[in-house]
């Protein structure tokens, strides 16, 4: 598609982040209470997993506290045949999509790199090297279209990840191929400690879409219905064969990068407090209450679901996982090379 066919201005993001909460938008009670329930559950998941990490039950946990609207909004916008491509901070998105939480935490617990079958759940392995999963999402989306399936891929990345070459190459391939893929950038303003101003001089991350020939959308990442709406529109657009969309969600990580990080070295307490005042859980909860949509039953049910999730995590992660050194050699190739068979045998010999 040439510039003449599609003026650059039609690709520009909205000037201010798109919002639903606090606007005159028509409420969607069913969806909003579902989002609320998942936010409550998600917050509890983040807090319980962080606590278990402090107790040594996980190797590390990059919490998405504060970013739950993005995590939940992304998960709930997907259809059953769609694929999710999460980064290491997106465990909650996988859980909100329905993946068993203990399986989702396999990487961070450290008993194996990926604790689930990606094809069965249509969730790619949690990806640690930044932005490297984005081209996978593009290729998978293209493959689905070549096969005649209506599958769409949703790829998650952070603001720091947009500096990586793979971000550029993925967006470029996606646009050239008009691949059915949506990129969600969770802009939480810091790549560990380095602020966004050191990552990019672009007017916004969403503006970068224009250079690739795809629309950029800007959304309030603390507003779960807004995130859900923008992603649902972008996914529908992709499914209809109209190509990829770049979505930037403005959000904030309430906690440090991981349990091993000290955010006090690079963030002012006042800034954190300002963002905590826009807690996605509180924002949606208040709006639901103001509109009389949050009944005691819904609150009670959400709290119970969250506690069930937390109790399940404590029980499962409190026990030691079954481990076998023989597994180290079993899956490197479809069948082990003679060299790997030798090494497995020699390890078995000394550990006998």
């Amino acid at each position: 598609m040439t510039v003449l066919e599609r003026p650059a201005t039609s690709l520009l993001p909205e000037p201010e982040p798109y919002r639903v909460l606090g606007t005159s938008a028509e409420p969607e009670p069913g969806l909003w209470t579902r989002l609320y329930r998942e936010l409550v559950r998600g917050r509890r998941f983040n807090e319980q997993t962080t606590a278990l990490t402090r107790q040594g039950r996980l190797a590390v946990y990059p919490s998405s506290t504060g970013q739950e609207a993005c995590q939940v909004g992304a998960a709930l916008s997907l259809g059953p045949r769609d694929w999710l491509f999460p980064s290491y901070r997106d465990t909650l998105a996988a859980v909100a999509r329905g993946l068993d939480p203990v399986a989702a935490l396999g990487l961070l617990r450290g008993d194996w790199h990926t604790g689930y079958d990606p094809r069965a759940h249509r969730i790619a392995p949690l990806c640690t090297p930044l932005a490297t999963q984005l081209p996978h999402a593009v290729g998978l989306a293209r493959a689905a279209r070549l096969r005649g399936d209506d599958t769409v891929a949703l790829a998650l990345v952070g603001d720091g990840g947009t500096s990586e070459g793979d971000f550029h190459e993925a967006l470029n391939f996606a646009a050239v191929w008009r691949a059915p893929v949506v990129f969600l950038v969770q802009n939480n303003r810091y790549a560990i400690s380095v602020p966004l101003s050191r990552q990019t001089a672009a007017p916004s991350i969403a503006h970068k879409g224009v250079g690739y020939g795809m629309p950029g959308r800007l959304v309030d990442g603390m507003d779960a219905p807004a995130v859900h709406r923008v992603l649902t529109e972008a996914l529908a657009r992709a499914r209809a064969g109209e190509g990829p969309t770049l979505v930037e969600a403005r959000t904030y990580r309430f906690d440090a990068h991981t349990n091993a990080d000290d955010a006090g070295r690079y963030r002012e307490e006042a800034e954190v407090a300002d963002w905590r005042a826009r807690d996605p859980l509180t924002l949606l909860g208040s709006e639901l209450r103001a509109r009389g949509l949050l009944t005691g039953d819904v609150e009670e049910e959400a709290a119970q679901a969250a506690e069930r999730l937390a109790a399940g995590l404590r029980a499962a992660l409190g026990a030691d996982p079954p481990l076998s050194a023989a597994d180290l050699f079993a899956h490197v190739y479809a069948s082990p090379t003679p060299q790997l068979r030798e090494q497995a045998a020699s390890l078995a010999e000394v550990t006998r």
Binding site: W112, H113, T114, Y116, D117, P118, R119, A120, A124, P125, P129, T132, Q133, L134, P135, H136, A137, V138, G139, L140, A141, R142, A143, A144, L146, R147, A153, G165, D166, E169, A170, N172, F173, V176, D327, A330, H331, V332, Y333, A334, T337, P338, Q339
Partner: protein
């Protein structure tokens, strides 16, 4: 008679005809047919969705091919030259090689990365690297390199049919060498004795096979009967055949173009020494590219192992004590 490029082209055509999941991706592989013409005619025959000119970005090519393989396709990627494959290295190391292992076998990655490699064609900088060491050192990858027309066809068909990722290294200076194409290429992991010999064994692969066969012929007039073993796949490595040959002759020289320090020859010499020590009459020697960045074309003949350097190594195999 068919050239190696022709045999590779035929292997791709037959693989695409046999399996609709096979998709080719690369730079200039469509309309042009590839800079070495290995994909000639395939876009016309199978359509541009099956033989696709991608944007010019190697990490993007391999990264998107990875996603296609995750969906069940069987991509074959062409890297235009050895040194142009380096941008794709992270995808290869961090994802392609690990996907099966990290998912306990749930997500195999049937993907072939074709890379024209090696020197001897008068290429300017970045067109002549022997990069096999990097790939050999990456668990999860198979590394194959044909030296004959029959292996070019047979090993490429096997690579594409494999459920594991294969780095397929094509010796570009042999692209136009012609020979009979036989249908009986042995499987991956099996070295083949190209010339039997009693006195010493030359262990080699890819572009250096021709050099070793010439050296073995030249050695006859000096009274040496040299065997030449073609490794064919570096991963899996055929310890059994290699060691059987070396035990028989008691002497071995490893010959390759890649740099010597921590190169394939270092691993091979160590393996042979560990397994055949009491059969060896001399240390295993290496004739390799020097430990320098690949030289400019007017100097490359000094860098590439040639008949004289191979024969010099053979004469240093402690014959006086024999």
């Amino acid at each position: 008679m068919i050239s190696m490029a022709g045999a590779l082209n035929l292997a791709l055509r037959d693989a695409m005809a046999a399996d609709p999941a096979v998709h080719l991706l690369g730079e200039d592989i469509g309309t042009l047919g590839g800079v070495f013409r290995v994909t000639d005619g395939l876009a016309a025959e199978f359509g541009e969705d099956r033989c696709t000119d991608t944007p010019l970005a190697e990490a993007g090519i391999l990264g998107t091919a990875t996603g296609m393989a995750m969906y069940g396709l069987r991509p074959v990627v062409e890297m235009q030259f050895d040194a142009f494959a380096y941008p794709a290295f992270e995808q290869l190391v961090s994802h392609v090689s690990r996907m099966r292992n990290r998912t306990r076998g749930a997500l195999p990655l049937p993907l072939t990365v074709r890379i024209p490699y090696g020197g001897g064609i008068g290429g300017v900088e970045h067109h002549s690297d022997s990069s096999e060491t990097y790939y050999m050192a990456t668990p999860g990858l198979h590394v194959a390199t044909p030296a004959t027309v029959t292996d070019a066809y047979g090993l490429l068909r096997q690579a594409i049919a494999s459920d594991d990722p294969v780095v397929f290294l094509e010796p570009k200076r042999l692209y136009w060498a012609k020979d009979e194409l036989r249908p009986d290429a042995p499987p991956f992991g099996q070295a083949v004795l190209r010339r039997p010999g009693r006195d010493a064994t030359l262990l080699t692969y890819g572009p250096a096979l021709t050099v070793c066969l010439e050296a073995a012929e030249a050695a006859r007039s000096r009274g040496f009967d040299l065997g030449v073993l073609d490794l064919r796949t570096l991963v899996p490595f055929d310890d059994e055949t290699v060691c059987a040959e070396v035990r028989r002759t008691g002497r071995a020289v490893v010959v390759h173009e890649a740099t010597g320090f921590a190169g394939p020859g270092a691993e091979i010499a160590a393996r042979v020494t560990e397994r055949c020590f009491h059969h060896l009459a001399a240390p295993v020697l290496r004739v390799t590219g020097f430990d320098i960045p690949y030289p400019p074309p007017m100097l490359e003949r000094h860098h590439l192992p040639d008949v004289d350097r191979v024969l010099d190594a053979v004469t240093r195999l402690q014959w006086e004590e024999a």
